[in-house]
Symmetry: C2
Subunit: 450 residues, 2 copies
């Protein structure tokens, strides 16, 4: 019998834990689920014969040593900054690790020790990062094997709300880590266009989104996502002159979010002392250079140079940033205050369903012809617990765990799913869960430019 310890039992873990429990009997697994809330852990496990819910505090050294010490593999769905402490414990107890989060420098630094201990720390094993890598590498390998020369790689991903549930001016609700949405783009982005490095600082990330249409779901806009160039190297596309990764939103979102950045409301680097004494209205007024007796609504529109009665203002005011409610947070950062508002406004209702989109566009030359392959995956959730996000993030992590425990992965060390012995079986199994890509091949006329 092998022991799997899942840390984090929030909405994100629903599909992960279901998969593990459903396979526990056949695979001979015991599944422990730890969360700071025992009730949450118990909701996931219920009375399953192979499952156990644990009230777990990752900062409790003794408990951490005990629970991870008993495990053969840990799946950490904690907030990303907490993975390192888990990873170090896994190394000590000689236990594998799976996360769905971006590989950090701290995690990467553990690689030699993880290799030496003959362990696998599999990161970026979710949706985006995760399925996007696996699909991309599969396409790239296929094109290369056919003798194609790749000219342009673009990939788009996002967790959104389904068309039926978009009843708000932003056409967006939180379906995943809310703070990540508030802080999105704060380290800027990098990509490559016609062999020219492009750097987009935070003050311009949401400034100039690209338009894109997804069949069946209409128009979207895409803003650049983090440092694309890391993946150009990992995908072995070092000679490709165009490489771009982006995040999707419904049209209008970026322009409105850009106003919040311009105002300064997304900053998480300083606190506002005694924020609990302010109303949201007071707070936002403090960011307006000139009020001078104007109504704050007017001063806000004037500062942003937007019409006071337009759709953009409507989006901003709908958030409640000028409400007279007291801020219920003590000494909070601007980002924390904004998050608090958004968590109320962008909350999924019980009947809301979410939508996940991944799309990869690759241009390449083959036999002197310019071709384009477009690969699209869409997935809608069942309800506000069985979300598409939980499914598309959790299943890769769960299948990854299975592959590790069944010794199907040859690589060791700190890795991401760009290896054939990972992406082939995972993508194959995901199809059974209707997580599948539609591929379209197009012949392109004209030059080889992106």
């Amino acid at each position: 019998m092998q022991n799997i310890f899942v840390i984090g039992a929030g909405r994100a873990s629903t599909a992960l834990i279901e998969y593990l429990l459903n396979h526990a009997d056949k695979e001979n697994w015991k599944i422990n689920v730890g969360d700071s809330s025992y009730d949450l852990a118990h909701q996931r496990v219920k009375n399953h014969p192979y499952g156990k819910a644990i009230k777990f505090d990752v900062n409790d050294k003794n408990q951490r040593e005990y629970e991870i010490g008993n495990a053969d593999l840990v799946v950490s769905f904690l907030p990303p900054f907490m993975h390192t402490i888990v990873a170090k414990e896994c190394l000590k107890s000689r236990c594998h690790l799976v996360t769905a989060s971006y590989l950090t420098v701290e995690m990467q630094e553990l690689d030699p020790k993880v290799k030496k201990a003959d362990l696998i720390f599999l990161n970026e094993m979710g949706l985006d990062p995760g399925i996007d890598h696996m699909n991309s590498i599969q396409l790239i390998t296929k094109i290369k094997n056919e003798g194609g020369k790749i000219i342009s790689f673009k990939s788009y991903g996002s967790g959104l709300i389904s068309p039926d549930s978009r009843q708000n001016p932003w056409k967006y609700k939180f379906t995943w880590s809310p703070m990540n949405v508030v802080l999105a783009g704060q380290n800027g982005a990098k990509y490559l266009e016609d062999n020219q490095l492009k750097i987009v600082p935070y003050n311009r990330i949401f400034n100039d989104p690209k338009k894109i249409t997804i069949p069946g779901y209409g128009d979207f806009e895409a803003y650049p996502n983090r440092d694309s160039l890391i993946y150009r190297e990992k995908y072995d596309l070092n000679d490709v002159p165009n490489f771009f990764r982006a995040t999707l939103r419904k049209p209008g979102y970026s322009e409105a979010w850009d106003q919040l950045i311009k105002l300064g409301l997304t900053d998480n680097s300083y606190t506002i002392n005694n924020s609990e004494d302010l109303t949201y209205r007071n707070w936002v007024i403090s960011y307006l250079p000139e009020v001078n007796g104007k109504k704050p609504e007017k001063a806000l529109a004037d500062f942003l140079e937007i019409p006071a009665d337009g759709k953009l203002m409507q989006k901003l005011l709908w958030l409640g940033i000028l409400s007279n409610d007291k801020i219920p947070l003590k000494d909070a950062t601007p980002a924390m205050i904004l998050l608090h508002l958004l968590e109320d406004r962008w909350k999924m209702n019980i009947h809301d369903t979410d939508l996940v989109i991944l799309r990869t566009e690759i241009k390449y030359e083959l036999n002197r012809k310019l071709k384009k392959i477009v690969s699209t995956m869409t997935c809608e959730g069942k309800d506000n617990h069985h979300t598409a996000m939980s499914k598309t993030v959790g299943l890769p992590a769960a299948i990854g765990a299975k592959l590790i425990l069944n010794k199907k992965i040859n690589e060791h060390g700190v890795i991401i799913p760009i290896h054939k012995d990972i992406y082939e079986p995972v993508l194959k199994e995901l199809k059974k869960f209707k997580i599948d890509f539609v591929e379209k091949e197009i012949e392109v006329k004209g030059s080889g430019a992106a």
Copy 2:
């Protein structure tokens, strides 16, 4: 005999070390000067009978323990982020500490232990912060003692270049920590106007400078400096509706610097991989959203929406940001690359002299009349080593050290110079060095507004 250990022997320490050596005989002091460069330390100490130069590495645990263990008082002129490691060693060895840097949260947290050990850790004991506090508190105390009610407090400070040495388009050169200049404002600023909290995010710090004239030195502009509200509390001005601290530059500087921020060139939060393979020109082009065959100079002007042949462009191009020189730094951050250019362009020549300005403006009501007191200190350097900056930063720290060793300060713990037993003797002694304030009292007509 008492031992003083000065850490850091750069240009900033010239006046500090001179003062300590000149007083060593009379005060019965031994002065050790440590720097990572022995030559630099020796330049300061030469063969002074009471001085000793030491090659010192603050990260060498044994050496740190030994040298600080032998000292009765340490003056740390290291970069601010290194003070904490020094402070912890001082606590262990029961030795006093003086710095000229802003008090950090980490330093403040040591207060209970410092108090318990009956020690003094005197911070912000330089020019700004330092002399500005001392002069401000003295003025505030005087006004309060007369029965005045303060309505508005504004203070301006800066290290600049003297009028004769301003032969560049920015009318600015580095006279103090260059990286601090590049990163200035990155945490935004806060102040109070008519009892309304004002928050200025980084993207607007240099956007709307206030104009101010300093007699004898002409026109300047002022951008808001950090969190002013901390000092409203420390100056015991909690009921004052206007409180503002700012930094001075010659007119035109802020608008030009704002372009560098808008471009994204001041960011220190991410590295550019293989920056050593880029020219400055390549690098800056990567920040331009649209080049499309335009000359980069034209694309830059178009992006910034400024005339391609105007003074603003001239300032930017003069820095060399579009030069074809290779960037000589490996995997550097944008701020590090910009710093490297500026360190060459804004370097003080041997005949250059610097200029320090402090100015405090306080409005108050006394006997139903509205009054204003304006207090101004200006100081010019002798040459590029005996700078006004080194003098105005180093002498307060040196005199502070003397007061501590002579047991003239009643306070204990982690403090800043807002106490009478510090600011009165220090300001008095600074006058002997011609660091002196000119005070002007004006009767103001009209309302009590700022």
